[in-house]
């Protein structure tokens, strides 16, 4: 297979002019999203440019401590984003987020890298960083949806939750239906996506692999592996986070501490 055709920076910048079409539509319908879109695209371009330089350096160095440190930075940003977008106060959730995500990555990431892909050196930057990064991105998305749903539903349905406790439910029994609702909300879209993957469009990882010169038969194996790894990691991290945060979020009487909810 041929290696990927490079894109010149000039060609790339010119192609961003295509954004004029969506910007026009957003502006015409007075969505007030034009400025946010321009800022987001500029940020994306600058961030990815810097990440490209930085990752090139990390891949060349391939030092395990540097690789782990970079993943820790990604983890910190993930935790902060989950709290902010889930409308929760980070100080109550920091420990549960970190512990649940580190545990999930340690189990799922290293299982797939060590057993499925079978790379000899698990912290090899070329595999460890992009695969862990993909998992963290998806873990972040699932936890935002699940955490927001779980805690805000208990807060909004306070009487139903208290009715369960007053009827003799333990805290685990009282939160049970709210956990179910949070899991449904977080994972229904992923399950639907897995069912149709490849029929409508080729997924990102597979596309990247094919563009990079890999045979499609290899690319699909990585894609299947990643979908399974990501889904498993998402579910494990969401459940662990909910279970671990319990001791920080509920008081000795089983009540949700309302100060954990932002706004």
């Amino acid at each position: 297979m041929e290696s990927t055709v490079d894109i010149s920076w000039t060609a790339l910048l010119i192609s961003e002019l295509f954004l004029a079409i969506p910007l026009f539509v957003l502006g015409y319908y007075r969505t007030h999203l034009v400025k946010a879109t321009v800022i987001s695209v500029l940020r994306m371009t600058v961030q990815l440019f810097l990440v490209g330089i930085y990752l090139g350096y990390i891949f060349k160095l391939n030092n395990p401590l540097v690789n782990v440190a970079w993943v820790m930075v990604m983890l910190g940003v993930t935790c902060q984003t989950i709290a902010r977008r889930g409308e929760l106060k980070l100080k109550y959730f920091l420990i549960p987020f970190v512990v649940s995500i580190v545990f999930t990555l340690a189990v799922v990431d290293f299982f797939f890298l060590g057993f499925t892909v079978r790379i000899g050196y698990l912290l090899d930057a070329r595999y460890f960083i992009p695969i862990t990064g993909m998992m963290l991105g998806n873990i972040m998305q699932s936890n935002v949806i699940a955490s927001n749903s779980f805690y805000h539903n208990i807060y909004k349905n306070k009487v139903a939750f208290r009715f369960a406790l007053a009827s003799g439910a333990t805290r685990h029994e009282a939160v049970f239906p709210f956990v179910g609702e949070a899991l449904k909300k977080a994972f229904n879209p992923t399950i639907a996506q897995m069912a149709t993957i490849g029929l409508v469009s080729l997924p990102g990882m597979m596309t990247g692999q094919i563009l990079g010169g890999n045979d499609p038969s290899v690319a699909i194996k990585y894609q299947i592996m990643m979908m399974v790894a990501i889904f498993t990691a998402n579910v494990i991290s969401v459940i662990l986070c909910i279970r671990l945060s319990g001791r920080f979020i509920f008081d000795a009487y089983g009540n949700l501490r309302e100060e954990v909810i932002r706004n």
């Binding site: 539903n153 349905n157 306070k158 009487v159 139903a160 208290r162 009715f163 369960a164 406790l165 007053a166 009827s167 003799g168 439910a169 333990t170 029994e173 239906p177 609702e181 000795a252 009487y253 089983g254 009540n255």
Partner: protein
């Protein structure tokens, strides 16, 4: 004495929302707490069930001051009917009734379908209502479903928040006889209803 309250008032930012009350609730007694709407009557239930800690005064259950351990005892002996039954929108009446019996502490008391249908009949509800969602039933039906559920829990103490507010005169009389006419039950209630209050042994006004 089951519950003893000394100068208790719910207080937000250290400001009581009603004048402090003191009373004792003894086994078999039927007590009503009355007062204007919005005075905080329902919040007293939250204090006694461990949901509200912002209060002044002292509360005792069976001679012991409230604590996480004592509250667990309270919750095992009390059945609470809130003013509004607020459940997850997808829940059916059947699920609402049977959910408390999925908790470990209530499993041995799980009612048979015959027992449930018998209670439904007692409260003028048809068996078909079991398959309706809680959101689709009327206020009066919802209230009777709540009463039915607390009765099925077979607890000796009932906390009832406006138990007859949505009932017509005939059903109100039935519920008054069912709950206040039962010597085995201790009842603490909030109510604006004169018929209900007239049948209580004690009335405390906030």
């Amino acid at each position: 004495m089951l519950f003893t309250l000394h100068n208790v008032a719910v207080a937000y930012d250290n400001k009581p929302i009603f004048s402090p009350v003191s009373f004792e609730l003894n086994t078999g007694e039927k007590m009503a707490i009355s007062g204007p709407s919005g005075k905080g009557k329902s919040s007293l239930f939250n204090v006694l069930l461990g949901f509200e800690h912002r209060y002044q005064g002292e509360v005792f259950f069976d001679g012991k001051p409230l604590s996480p351990v004592v509250i667990q005892e309270v919750r095992k002996q009390v059945a609470w009917l809130p003013q509004e039954i607020n459940v997850l929108p997808t829940q059916t009446v059947r699920e609402f009734i049977y959910t408390p019996f999925e908790y470990q502490v209530n499993k041995h008391k799980r009612p048979s379908i015959n027992q449930v249908e018998s209670r439904l009949e007692e409260l003028d509800l048809k068996a078909e209502i079991l398959d309706h969602t809680i959101g689709s039933v009327s206020g009066g039906e919802k209230q009777r479903i709540g009463i039915l559920t607390v009765l099925l829990l077979q607890r000796s103490i009932l906390f009832l928040d406006e138990p007859v507010a949505a009932l017509d005169a005939r059903m109100k009389k039935k519920v008054v006889d069912l709950l206040l006419g039962n010597n085995q039950l201790t009842v603490l209630s909030t109510s604006h209803d004169a018929v209900w209050n007239d049948h209580c042994d004690k009335i405390v006004t906030l």
